[in-house]
Symmetry: C2
Subunit: 145 residues, 2 copies
Amino acid sequence: MSCESRAIDQLRESGVRLTPQRAMVLEAIYHSDGHLSVEEVHERVQQLSPYVDLSTVYRTVMFLKQQGVIGELRLDGQPVRYEAVRFGQEHHHVVCSSCGAMIDVASDDLETLSELLDTKYGFEVNLVHLTLVGQCPACRNDQSR
Amino acid sequence: MSCESRAIDQLRESGVRLTPQRAMVLEAIYHSDGHLSVEEVHERVQQLSPYVDLSTVYRTVMFLKQQGVIGELRLDGQPVRYEAVRFGQEHHHVVCSSCGAMIDVASDDLETLSELLDTKYGFEVNLVHLTLVGQCPACRNDQSR
DNA sequence: ATTGCAGATGCGAAAATTTGCAACTACGAC
DNA sequence: GTCGTAGTTGCAAATTTTCGCATCTGCAAT
């Protein structure tokens, strides 16, 4: 069983079409450890099937993101990147605006916020794969010198 | 005194250059009530000064966003939009993924999260103008029918 | 007021992303 | 299995966004 099989099940249950292209994009992203740009996803998918178009990759990552099985990482001055949203390892990112260091934040840490938005505004918020910007401990020290 | 004067002060204090182009982009965004796309900002700026280039507007909104005086609103299927971050009215957005309804969430509501990220990870996070996706009360009801 | 220069701008060109559309296909109904 | 169709895809073209670079300018120092 491949590591993206759970995501595939999730798509099946949502009643959306599971095309070979979608499966390949999913595979490329789930079998990568880091964050892939669209271009990198395209390269990897083309190794599996050479005629998959770049525009299909664009449409597919958008689709998979909306389905919640991949996450988008959008940092100023860098290409947009995508990563797997693995079951049980859902997380967010915090990036240091000074040095670029990035840490993962467990989804549970945003549970309080989620509850607040529910009780106060009635919104059921999908807190999936946020990217927050801030300053890491080291850069905070540097700055205060 | 114009409504963006406080933002201008903030830029001065940061020691960054205050060019006419930056002031005009700031003015266009602060004098608009809603959210403007880059194209719309460009149109308004050109009415003040016809030779301001579109690429300058792109660079300027990126800059002003990083300075924290304007906020970016990025919704799937819509052009990126920018709005003023007015002192004392800092807020975030929650958008309903079903009907598109959007509400503002006061910055204070994220105070707890901010403290958690500080104590747990040591990050001083800049919680400015986030956009969260979820479901509004009405659509939650519709769905459960 | 003048000077020096790091950083900003305008312009053209390149790169990234989206879109229109005819052909194709996953998948539910039979 | 076959059929029908709504939803996808590949391709080409349009559009949006970024970038390189020569020139220009805000502003701190004098």
